[in-house]
């Protein structure tokens, strides 16, 4: 643009020819803010869509405390949310090391910047790893459930102890010749994934044979607990089961509403992808710091810009944490 300016007054050029800095921020920093604002709108779109589906199924949405109960190395112990809380701390802490890196950059302390960047990268990697662990637990599932024709999930409980019961504790195995459906034998061109460990009939037989087993439905009562059917109701309802669901995929999941797993994969996946790309960008910047690129450039603004992105990822996690795990 400056080439088209015919007036040669210096002030004029500073004002309109790129010499002026809007908001006293450099071009790169303002563009990073543009990106952050638009990305925040993407995330809020996802979270609001989650809210929409949740409000639509407000009386049957899965309760996060009952879904995310795992803690590393503590198998079988009910530890709701502790691990996610630790993940939150890891991410906030890596945010802090990032600010410290930016601060050290302002003072042109190359080694300090490098150390703090490295800590930030480690924090991010720990977070992504934790998220992968969460996903694998979520996908594998723990107890298993059955699905009715209408897409409802029935989980199973022990009437006496009030604890969840896994399918393999009561299902009665029978020999069947159920073969995996493959795309070449179907009228429509589709196949199916791996078969669940039990057939619906085996689960139904198990429920009938074990007088302790009752059904835990998706419905939530007035106090916020899942409705548990009586033994008689359970015997009546269990015959509606047409599918055995173990763990979670994009079609159905053992935790409840189908959309729950879809949103879990989509939102935490999108966030995890942001963390992953943040780690990659941080690594690039880290090596740039090491080879002294910013030392020669005379300022560490690049660290500040990538820092903005990194804090934004942290900020999004604060919201995902609240709306997915707490509320």
């Amino acid at each position: 643009m400056s080439s088209t300016i015919t007036t040669s007054i210096n002030n004029e050029k500073d004002l309109w020819g790129g010499g002026n800095r809007p908001f006293k921020a450099s071009y790169g920093k303002l563009m990073m803010w543009f990106f952050i604002v638009s990305d925040a709108l993407s995330f809020s779109g996802f979270l609001v869509a989650y809210g929409f589906s949740r409000f639509k199924n407000i009386d049957s949405w899965p309760i996060a405390d009952e879904v995310f109960t795992h803690f590393p190395f503590l198998h079988g112990i009910d530890a709701p949310m502790y691990y996610v809380a630790i993940m939150t701390f890891v991410l906030i802490f890596s945010s802090v090391t990032m600010v410290l890196a930016v601060d050290a950059g302002h003072h042109m302390q190359k080694n300090k910047v490098a150390v703090y960047m490295l800590l930030t990268i480690i924090g991010g990697a720990v977070f992504v790893g934790s998220q992968a662990w969460e996903w694998s637990n979520f996908i594998r599932g723990e107890y298993g459930a059955v699905e009715t024709k209408g897409g409802q999930i029935f989980q199973f409980m022990n009437k006496e102890t009030g604890e969840r019961v896994a399918l393999d504790e009561f299902a009665i195995e029978s020999h069947t010749d159920r073969i995996q459906h493959e795309s070449n034998s179907g009228v429509w061109f589709y196949g199916e994934g791996s078969l669940p460990s039990f057939t619906p009939d085996e689960v139904i037989a198990g429920v009938i044979a074990n007088s302790q087993i009752v059904i835990k439905t998706e419905k939530i009562d007035a106090n916020g607990y899942k409705v548990i059917l009586s033994r008689e109701e359970s015997l009546e309802k269990i015959t509606q089961a047409i599918n055995v669901v173990e763990g979670a995929n994009l079609v159905n999941n053992e935790y409840g509403n189908r959309l729950f797993a879809d949103f879990f994969f989509f939102i935490t996946g999108f966030h995890g992808f942001h963390v992953f790309s943040g780690v990659i960008i941080n690594i690039i910047i880290f090596f740039n710091v090491l080879v002294g690129t910013y030392e020669r450039r005379g300022h560490y603004e690049m660290v500040e810009k990538v820092g903005l992105y990194w804090h934004f990822v942290d900020l999004v996690w604060v919201f995902v944490f609240t709306f997915f795990y707490l509320v």
């Binding site: 604002v37 589906s53 802090v96 900020l315 509320v327």
Partner: protein, 128 residues
């Protein structure tokens, strides 16, 4: 970008830090406390906060949402150092987001609630 350009007080001047670095640790401490409060509320779920509701949302959820926004404020203001930026930049970021997000949330949550009512009170049974 020297230290003098950093605004070092938080809580409306209640707490003033000596350097930017100590301010960061202070904010981390504050955010940690808020997170601990959130998690302990989420695990214990006090009866009072669940039974009572305000504007058809449980009190506990109000607390979660408010504490989240508090956390978001301190992350944006101190970690993303919006506190040190000119007011114009602060406003063009925050007001845009607040307006658009609250609009979107309002529209879609009302719609979700409406669909719930339709399915709940409608003549058709949705429980196959």
């Amino acid at each position: 970008m020297e230290n003098s350009t950093h605004k070092l007080e938080i809580f409306r001047g209640l707490l003033k830090f000596k350097s930017n670095e100590t301010k960061i640790w202070g904010v981390l401490f504050f955010l940690s406390i808020v997170t601990i409060v959130e998690v302990s509320l989420g695990i214990n779920k006090p009866e009072v906060l669940i039974v009572n509701s305000f504007l058809s949302m449980k009190l506990i959820n109000w607390i979660f949402v408010i504490l989240t926004i508090v956390k978001a404020y301190y992350i944006a203001w101190d970690f993303m150092h919006l506190r040190d930026e000119p007011q114009g930049l602060q406003f063009s970021i925050v007001i845009t987001l607040i307006f658009l997000i609250s609009y979107l949330a309002f529209i879609l949550l009302v719609e979700g609630n409406y669909i719930f009512d339709i399915m709940y009170e409608g003549f058709l049974s949705w429980n196959f």
